[in-house]
Symmetry: C2
Subunit: 306 residues, 2 copies
């Protein structure tokens, strides 16, 4: 048997499905765990992630003229519905494979049910804040590297190095940087003392307003997307606790901006201005929390002890 990292996949014919780790009807995606039945490495598991390709808009005339085979499902007046079979070349599927995979990979791709939790200021102080403070600084070293120009330098779109109101703007890795209507950028604050939405007060308005103003202007200049077509928001809970802001085209089909997770930055500013500097310290926020995550663990044990 070769070294584990040298195993190669040459065919999927002998792939034996063990179980579906996650799937999404909406985006036509499935992640499957299994083994290759007949090779020498049958003790190794593999994860295959399949996703349907989008239609190639350039080649739509070819798609039609090559003759879609039609099966009528239903006809009523001007409306009809068919099951259609495009000719071969239009049916490619993308397969991402991890082989061999570890239990860490499995757990990463396994769907975790998401729960809605009502986070009171008290729950924040007693369960969430201690969790945030327990995270080793090393986990956000990559952010510091970006801010200090030690990493991803060539990806930086814009940098304002004011330590109070400054930020670095980068394209999100999910964005191909080609299609403007899929635009997705991230602004990372220079200051390191804002862990999340919960820390924001009137003192941070210059930072927030600067991100909206300069971030929009840079995006308008570089990508031609107007500020009226930008959805600018923060995640709460965020995936890392160094203050950062998402800037996304309004036509984006992303789930990143869902209620219970995304808070629009102008709403944040207006809440602080209209209802008081301590709005986010007093607010009760319903948040999405994944089952089995560290945060959920803290919330559960706090609720049990209380």
């Amino acid at each position: 048997m070769e070294g584990a990292s040298k195993l190669k996949i040459s065919s999927l014919t002998n792939f034996e499905v063990e179980r579906v780790l996650s799937d999404d009807i909406f985006s036509k995606y499935v992640a499957v765990l299994g083994r290759f039945r007949d090779d020498d490495n049958s003790d190794c598991q593999a994860i295959l992630r399949l996703s349907r390709r989008h239609f190639d808009l350039e080649n739509l005339p070819a798609l039609f003229s090559s003759g879609l085979q039609l099966d009528l499902d239903f006809h009523n007046d001007i409306y009809s519905k068919f099951a259609a079979l495009p000719s071969e070349k239009f049916n490619y599927v993308t397969v991402d494979a991890i082989y061999p995979c570890t239990s860490k990979h499995i757990s990463k791709f396994e769907r975790k049910p998401v729960h809605m939790v009502r986070e009171t200021p008290e729950l924040y102080r007693n369960a969430i804040l201690p969790y945030i403070e327990s995270i080793p600084a090393a986990q956000t070293q990559w952010v510091v590297n970006i801010l200090e120009g030690k990493a991803e330098v060539e990806r930086v779109i814009f940098m304002d190095d004011n330590l109070d109101s400054g930020f670095v703007l980068l394209p999100d890795l999910k964005w191909d940087q080609i299609q403007a209507n899929q635009l997705y950028c991230v602004a990372i604050a220079q200051r390191r003392d804002v862990r999340s939405l919960r820390d924001l007060t009137a003192q941070h308005l210059p930072l927030l307003e600067n991100i909206i103003k300069q971030g929009s202007a840079v995006i308008q200049n570089k990508y031609g997307v107007g500020s009226e077509c930008l959805k600018i928001f923060v995640h709460y809970h965020p995936s890392y606790f160094h203050f950062h802001v998402h800037l996304m085209h309004t036509s984006q089909g992303s789930l990143a901006n869902g209620a219970g997770k995304a808070h629009l930055l102008t709403d944040v500013i207006d809440n602080i201005k209209v209802f008081g500097s301590d709005y986010y310290q007093r607010a009760v926020l319903q948040v999405e929390v994944g089952e089995g995550t560290d945060i959920m663990e803290r919330i559960s044990s706090y609720s049990r002890e209380k």
Copy 2:
């Protein structure tokens, strides 16, 4: 030429693409406008909406064993990426056709850019409220019919007929009522004097709390979905101005719950309780507004006049 409503589609081979009305990379969907080149009705346009099918999870073993043809894109250590071609029967596409179609159909399927608008209380009073008041009552007659038991009676899951805090619960038409993790229901308030989120005050807390409490209990009993897995929210702006609430499974990939549109009902209740009964009359709310809609028209002409 036969009556327009009798035109039938027998093949797509001669469909001539005029333009793409809308498409979505995320959900693999495209709506195309065009004509059938060689028939007698070449003056008639047709809209074809194509969407890729999700993988059939039951038949995954068959998908693999039938042999996906593999093209390696990339290999690095344990990671690899392929373009794969499943055998024919796994490649069906759903085609919904409207033929002949009218300009109304075209405009319905044409992607309208969505803009972010900062709605101040002043903008609400001077542009949005007059618009809401101009909508003829007949437009929500269908809601009244449901409340009065004159329509969709067999679809009603639960009815509380208290005129102050009562509501009717129905499945949303987008939900197949089979897959619990795709659950999507709507609760429509019995009272007719709440047009939207903007009207809510402490006076409506019994209604809001009743929808959360009884709505969740009914869904738990009937579909086995616990309240911790329910995202309960209102849309602002809503699609019709009779107060109603969306209840959706947290695992849903729907875009219905995006920031700038969805407001979680417990957040609404907590805002009113913590920051005052008039929270939603004082709040500034950033909202998504479609270009070319009546509301955008009102907003623009108000902004011009000011």
